[in-house]
Amino acid sequence: MNWLKFVAIPLVLSATAASAEVAVVVHPSNAASLDQAEISRLFTGRGSAFNNGSKATPLNLAESAPARAEFDTKVLGKSSSQMKAYWSKLVFTGKGTPPKELATDADVKAAVAADPGAIGYIDAAAVDATVKVVGKF
């Protein structure tokens, strides 16, 4: 039953994804408070401002970064391929643009530390004083 194996392997792979904690981070000067629903809104293009009215610039991690799948699953409640399907609908109908992607935790941290309007997420173990944690998932 090679066919069964063919089906079973991807199922196992998707179930064994790592489960490190993800920290959602903003610029240290950003006083906005954020719950999961608000973070989800910013990262799905349904909102573009923090609850204090200032413009938010969400930053995604590339799919190769481990925290990306964690964030998609825990915070957005979707798999990375579901998110890709979601964005492809918006991108090719002129209704939205996905967040810019950065390659590593360090890149996101540097970009968030440099931009008072930025919001990103990184592996919780990579957090330091250059950014402010607004939620851990």
């Binding site: 991807p10 998707s14 798999s79 391929s81 890709k84 399907a85 979601y86 492809s88 109908t93 002129g94």
Partner: protein, 357 residues
């Protein structure tokens, strides 16, 4: 091929502006093969057993394997001209049209504020739920949205569009209002499939709107559009009961649920034209198991003179982060138009890969 001025202007502005503007290139493609397993065809027209998978572009399968009817590619170029202005063009080539590249979208977008965006140019008509991303198969479950629903001969328009996005408590309220026209000098469906004479199809004074309400696992969409239809057969204007134009009104409701790995997708639409109602609906259910989503689907077209439906079963497999494999079996029941079959009953198998980049 019709090259609109807007498309040419956009293309020119992108080339000359690329030095200054931030240009994004993205795209999608589908490679799909399939064949009719059994079917009646329409002997009186000499039509062999046929599965009509796509009405507007006349994409159909016969008893020999074909990789053309559902295969396509698209390339989107978007130039951020800064200060809220964006120019976007999408070139699409479809197997049913021998992969000839055409500008399907070419528009300017201006972000007014956090809630409103204005667009002008050539876009797809957002009639049915899947109309405006019909070509981007990666974004939906099946190989294609059901042919029985997506039958109308006009699928683009030139005009203006205002789209909005608001957050109201836990609901995302979004949508758009649009107006424009389309003049298809040789409409493929009417000229080639439902006739043998060149037909120019005009939809003018198009006015429409879409309202979407989203919350967690629930997605509701309302759509309405009215237009004035004019038609030329062999260069001669067609009249309907003595009038050389007629008004069509399209209304639709869609409710989709994505809950605990269950997917329920529905849409119900009615076009009123010449005093008759053309009703279509689609019901699909799927269940996500890891990377696999098996599904069943039923779609129906029902008017006083035309009736056909399709039952489908299939699966989507997200085997790659940017690509999905799909396989689907379709069983079409054709009860014809005024006693004549559209393409006859058919059973067909199709499979393929959709990707985005």
């Amino acid at each position: 091929m019709k090259t609109s001025l807007i498309a040419a202007a956009l293309a020119a502005s992108m080339v000359s502006g690329s030095v200054y503007a931030d240009v994004d290139i993205s795209g999608f493609a589908s490679v799909v093969g399939g064949k009719v397993i059994s079917g009646e065809g329409v002997p009186e027209f000499g039509l062999e057993p046929t599965f009509l998978a796509n009405y507007p572009i006349v994409g159909f399968y016969e008893e020999d394997w074909s990789f053309k009817p559902d295969s396509k590619y698209g390339l989107q170029i978007s130039a951020d001209l800064t200060e809220g202005l964006t120019a976007t063009a999408q070139v699409v080539g479809r197997g049913a049209d021998d992969f000839n590249a055409e500008f399907e979208w070419a528009y300017l977008s201006y972000t007014l504020n956090e809630h409103w965006t204005l667009q002008a140019g050539k876009k797809r008509l957002p009639l049915y739920y899947y109309s405006d991303f019909f070509d981007v198969s990666y974004a939906y479950l099946w190989i294609r949205p059901a042919a029985d629903n997506y039958t109308w001969q006009i699928f683009n328009y030139n005009g203006v569009n205002a789209q909005f996005n608001y957050q109201v408590n836990d609901w995302t309220v979004s949508g758009n209002i649009y107006t424009g026209r389309e003049d298809d000098t040789e409409n493929k469906l009417l000229s080639e499939f439902f006739g043998s004479q060149p037909i120019r199809e005009i939809w003018k004074n198009i006015v429409g709107g879409v309202l979407s309400l989203n919350r967690d696992w629930l997605d509701l969409r309302f759509t309405y559009m009215t237009y004035q239809n004019e038609r030329y057969r062999n260069g001669v204007k067609v009249t309907w009961d003595g009038d050389d134009s007629r008004r069509g009104k399209f209304a639709g409701l869609s409710a989709n649920i994505d809950y605990n790995n269950w997917l329920v997708l529905t849409e119900f639409n009615r076009l009123t034209l010449d005093g008759g109602d053309f009703d279509t609906y689609l019901l699909s259910a799927g269940y996500r198991v890891g990377q696999w989503t098996p599904f069943v689907s039923f779609a129906d077209f029902d008017s006083e003179s035309e009736m056909h439906s399709t039952s489908s079963i299939g699966a989507r497999w997200d085997f790659h982060s940017s690509a999905a494999f799909k396989v689907q079996y379709d069983d079409v029941t054709d009860d014809g138009i005024n006693g004549q079959m559209v393409a006859g009953d058919s059973k067909a198998i199709t499979f393929g890969i959709d990707l985005v980049f």
